[in-house]
């Protein structure tokens, strides 16, 4: 195993890429640990695909360093191809092949392939083994993409926007497949537009913006580092709605209809103040008391917001 000391599957330092005069990557730094699901987020044109294609060995970098499984992808080592699996977007199959036959051919490309039956089972294609590829549905084709990417039993799998154009059912199935891969100890590098997908699947995320990593960390850290307020809500007691009791001091409570809400950057202190206030005015337990921490989506929108001010609360 490469770079066992660091336990890193991918290490990117000051990665730069210019297309002609135009810099696309301006010094990208991040790392992917072994066995984790790592998600690269960012708006279109931020450089996600360029970054991933450099790691896959499809593009050469202009500067900086990149190490994948301890190897330099720019040197195009055959060993790297043997140990990574790539699920590309929108990629065709040979027109005349059948499912099982095509997977069989792909297995032959690798020194230590996964068993055919195993690949068919993991991707739910066992019954389509003899189906001609051109007769597969869109979802089945995507699963065949997976089967081919896993044919060599890779240590590291790249997934480029794997669920674009999927219906909710197909997305959930693919998520289950990714979690299954993680269970097998594979490292997964994912790019996606969907923040719920990243939040659901990723151990750690990095947000790429204008050719630099704006922020990286676990999904919780990234959400926390956005320093967005949490939201507390509860069912507004009748006495509060009738204005028979004053709103609590120091808490910016807003009542709309049956729900009372406030935002806070210190959840514990605000909860203590609210409960003390409820106690003082004999409002009982606050019904449906809920704390909503900022989601990855909130954090993403905050981090990628190009206007300088705070996003509207």
């Amino acid at each position: 195993m490469a770079s066992p000391a660091t336990g890193l599957a991918v290490e990117v330092r000051d990665l730069r890429k210019d297309y002609g005069e135009r810099p696309v990557l301006r010094g990208v730094d991040f790392e992917v640990r072994r066995g984790e699901v790592f998600c690269l987020l960012g708006p279109n044109g931020a450089g996600k695909t360029t970054t991933v294609e450099i790691l896959e060995g499809f593009r050469t970098r202009t500067g900086g360093s990149a190490t994948v499984l301890g190897l330099d992808p720019a040197a195009q080592p055959a060993e790297l191809r043997e140990r990574i699996g790539i699920v590309l977007q929108e990629c065709g199959f040979p027109r005349q092949a059948r499912v099982g036959e095509l997977i069989g051919i792909w297995r032959d490309y690798y020194p230590r392939p996964r068993p055919l039956g195993d690949l068919l089972e993991v991707t739910g294609l066992t019954e389509d083994r003899n189906t001609p590829v051109r007769k597969l549905s869109g979802g089945q084709r995507r699963r065949l993409d997976f089967a081919l990417a896993l044919a060599g039993d890779p240590d590291l799998v790249f997934l480029d926007e794997p669920t674009t154009g999927f219906d909710p059912e197909a997305r959930r199935r693919l998520w289950a497949a990714v979690e299954n891969l993680r269970g097998l100890g594979k490292t997964i590098v994912l790019t996606t537009h969907y923040l719920d997908e990243a939040e659901r699947l990723a151990d750690r995320v990095a947000i790429l913006l204008d050719g630099r990593i704006k922020i990286a960390g676990s999904t919780r850290e990234v959400a926390r580092l956005a320093a967005l307020p949490a939201q507390i809500s509860f069912t507004a007691p009748a006495a509060l709605r009738a204005k028979e009791v004053p709103p609590p001091d120091g808490v910016d409570l807003a009542v709309s209809g049956p729900v009372a809400r406030c935002q806070t950057r210190n959840t514990a202190a605000t909860l203590r103040a609210l409960l003390a206030w409820a106690d003082r005015h004999r409002l009982g337990d606050l019904d449906e008391l809920t704390v909503t921490t900022p989601s990855l989506e909130d954090a993403y929108l905050h981090h990628t917001d190009r206007s300088d001010g705070e996003p509207p609360a």
């Binding site: 191809r81 790539i86 199959f93 027109r95 005349q96 051919i105 792909w106 020194p111």
Partner: protein
Amino acid sequence: MKALRLTARQALMEQRSFWRSPEYALFTFALPLFLLLLLGAANGGSYLPGHIRQIKVLVPSILAFGVIAAAYVNLGAKMAVPRHDGVLKRIRTTPLPAGAYLIGHIVSTVATTLAIAACMGLVGWLAFGTVPRLGGLFFLAAGLALGIVCFAALGLAVSSLIKSAESATPITNASYLPIAMISGIFDPTIGIPRWLSGAAAALPIKALAQVLEDAYTPARHAFPGTALAVLAAWAVAGASVAVWRFRRQTA
């Protein structure tokens, strides 16, 4: 050793895929055989200037046509389609060397081409009693070898220039059929302006037909050196374009 095994496996897969696509198998095998039987039955008995029975020219001409259909059309279309379907990009994600993939295609094409050549030779013999003369076997071998190399190279070159999967087969067919006609492949007595026949002589179709004809007919000239040189020149030209385009596309 591993690369060799992968190449062989790739060639086998291409063969299987070839026989599974009716449009390729039909164009490559059925069309030349049909043309040989039809033209041979219609015109084979008449005589060309110099008291040569026309069938002696038709068999090698259509044999040349078969080689072109198998090597040029096949390789041209079959390399362009996977490229545009994104299959090449997918293959680049695997450890399969690009060379093994390419050579697998070429080996498969050579096998197909030799099969069609053998088929045509057999039909020429069985249906029309026409066989190459003993002294012409060298020209037959040389013509087939150089012809396959030349048209495979040109096929690769044209495949690298084709812009979409849908246009692959029409473009490859349209690019050689008119030249085959003016080269007198289907009718050796075709009357065309002198400048046009001069142009045809500089093109590889006429050259291949010429070399194969010399294998079947009593030697009219000593050695088809010019025709072989034309084939070799086109082989180099085709290979250069193919290498240049493939380099650029994979860079």
